[in-house]
Symmetry: C2
Subunit: 361 residues, 2 copies
């Protein structure tokens, strides 16, 4: 059948040209008579892909040479543990800014490893409707690091300012909005992002890490869990998830061809603005629970007057080839995830559907 309008929260839609390239090369990668996934991770063919994926991230995000670009496994969930294992020594405490379910999980894992402290939270009745303001951040100047989550897929919030954390190292989980636009990498000591929202399939985590931060990390932990191990070995200490990294290469090569992250930001803002406008225009029917200044351009969450109407909305949309619109099982409601690969046409299609649905309801 025709490709659907994919509003999945992640794993999410990928650019068709990146998939078509993978399809063409599936049996015979660049005339080598093998799939890229059948190549040795220490051979020339894979090595070129690996290097290109890293260099595309460096170029598109403007990652300076003072930062490592790493490909790891285990998703953000392993990062929740790996960050404190590496950077939270005994006798120190780490600050966590809570803005939703994922940041809470990161905080809980840090507590399992060492001492963690809540530097700010916007939780009210188990819901997070906004990002904290700068004056709400109570940063411990002696903290080992501050951890934040740049975008929240469950509640549909996103940071739209760069928090000032003084001289404390800043660590960010950018899994759900990595590369949605350019950002200043040097404001962070470590950034991690599961690939499966904006840049590839599940099974690969991209890490950008300041070299001096990694070099100062704990060394008394398992080798494979040390960022330093992967940094020293250019993410080839053990066999990396080669096909996932290859697909990231395909996606980012396409991102570059279509104008890089400046074009991507315009594209994403246009989509988000259109969708939020449609919600606000019918505010007596569609309701956005997130404060305007904290609205996510990746996950647009909205409610209808009743849960029955929400169910009807989601299933009617699915019949018109718009999939993935159910809110997270813990929050309910409707959620349109409009990551990088979602086209403006898909959002237009959704907005038309919303208007028609509202008329009929």
């Amino acid at each position: 059948m025709a490709r659907v309008h994919n509003f999945n929260a992640g794993p999410a839609g990928l650019p068709l040209p990146a998939l078509e390239r993978a399809q063409r090369e599936m049996i015979d990668f660049e005339g080598t008579g093998m799939s890229i996934m059948e190549h040795s991770h220490r051979g020339k063919a894979y090595d070129a892909v690996h290097a290109e994926a890293i260099s595309l991230i460096r170029e598109l995000c403007g990652v300076p040479e003072s930062y490592y670009v790493l490909f790891l496994q285990g998703g953000a969930s392993l990062q929740f543990a790996q960050v404190p294992m590496n950077f939270l020594p005994q006798g120190k405490s780490a600050d966590y800014i809570l803005t939703g379910g994922w940041s809470e999980k990161a905080y809980q894992e840090a507590q399992r490893v060492g001492t963690a402290r809540i530097a700010a939270t916007t939780e009210v009745d188990k819901r997070f409707a906004r990002i904290p303001r700068q004056d709400e951040l109570k940063i411990d100047a002696g903290a080992a690091y501050v951890h934040m989550t740049s975008n929240n897929t469950l509640f549909g919030t996103q940071w739209h300012y760069q928090p000032d954390v003084g001289s404390v190292p800043l660590v960010a989980d950018m899994s759900s909005d990595f590369m949605w636009k350019k950002f200043d990498v040097t404001k962070f000591d470590l950034v991690y992002a599961g690939a499966q929202k904006n840049i590839g399939p599940s099974g690969v985590v991209v890490v950008l890490a300041k070299k001096s931060f990694v070099d100062g990390a704990r060394k008394d932990i398992p080798t494979i869990l040390r960022y330093g191990t992967h940094a020293t070995n250019n993410s080839l200490y053990n066999t990396p998830p080669t096909f996932g990294i290859y697909l990231i290469r395909n996606v980012l090569a396409h991102t570059k061809e279509t104008g890089g992250l400046d074009a991507m930001e315009k594209h994403n803002r246009k989509k988000g603005d259109l969708l939020y406008s449609a919600i606000d225009e019918d505010a007596d029917f569609y309701r956005a629970p997130v404060e305007k200044g904290s609205r996510s351009y990746m996950n647009v969450v909205f409610r209808l007057p009743t849960e029955e109407l929400e169910k009807a909305f989601i299933s009617a949309a699915a019949k018109e080839n718009m999939v993935g619109l159910a809110g997270h099982r813990s929050t309910g409601g409707v959620r349109a995830s409009i990551y990088n690969a979602v086209s403006f046409a898909s959002v237009e299609r959704l907005v038309d559907f919303m208007k028609a649905f509202r008329k009929k309801a």
Copy 2:
């Protein structure tokens, strides 16, 4: 170009029908208008693939209901740490049987986590030419577990008997020969295997674990590193590497169609026997450094009279579309990895080449 004869040590060749299926479905999985990697890991389409992959492993290996079948990330290298983190409590010691570089790495990681002991080693001058005999295994009856590596890719050795470790739990790294034939799962408390040799691409580790063993594991470690976490959540605690698991499904569906593991064992023995015969027939030119009773049916290691001849052999073979024949960078020599997906025809081709090369040399 035509598909090559792929003798890579891993990532390795995959069955063509499994790749062709992935190619056909790359843009549109089963009429859903999405690639399988664009589907939610909590949706029906992926769920069916996940369940089928697990059930194929259960069926083909004969895994009883008293065992979990898990899909994890991080490769065998993360298992090296995860096994002692889960199963090696303070005050206890774990036994390691050393048969090569991988088992040494596993042992070193256990030492970083707790107390580990060498129960046997066949190392002589940094080389391992054989598997230890039963009477050489000095098992500590009070050990938390015994760890073994069923096949060694570097030195080309493989266990051909089931070691008796008394009532001590037995843990096996089967990364490089998992599913090369049927085996009695109930002899092991935990088996782990990186997928990238016999059953899929890199980025997925299969774990078979006795439920009672997992239930008795340590709980004071990071959530994501507990086997129990993944067991309770059917390997869906966090986003699994969906495309890798899908490919495992494709490979194992093909394995089942072509006769299951009994047929696979016949196929593998036929290949190995042919290749070792060719070596032994020209024993004044080709030399197998591994003792006969310990020879691997997965990685056939041999030497030529000089390193120059070895280089010439490897490069002449590559010109005839036989790739991946260089020995591991730490050992040198020639290594033909003849995993499940390598055809008998490829081995025949190699044997013909060996005979011709020997005549010319």
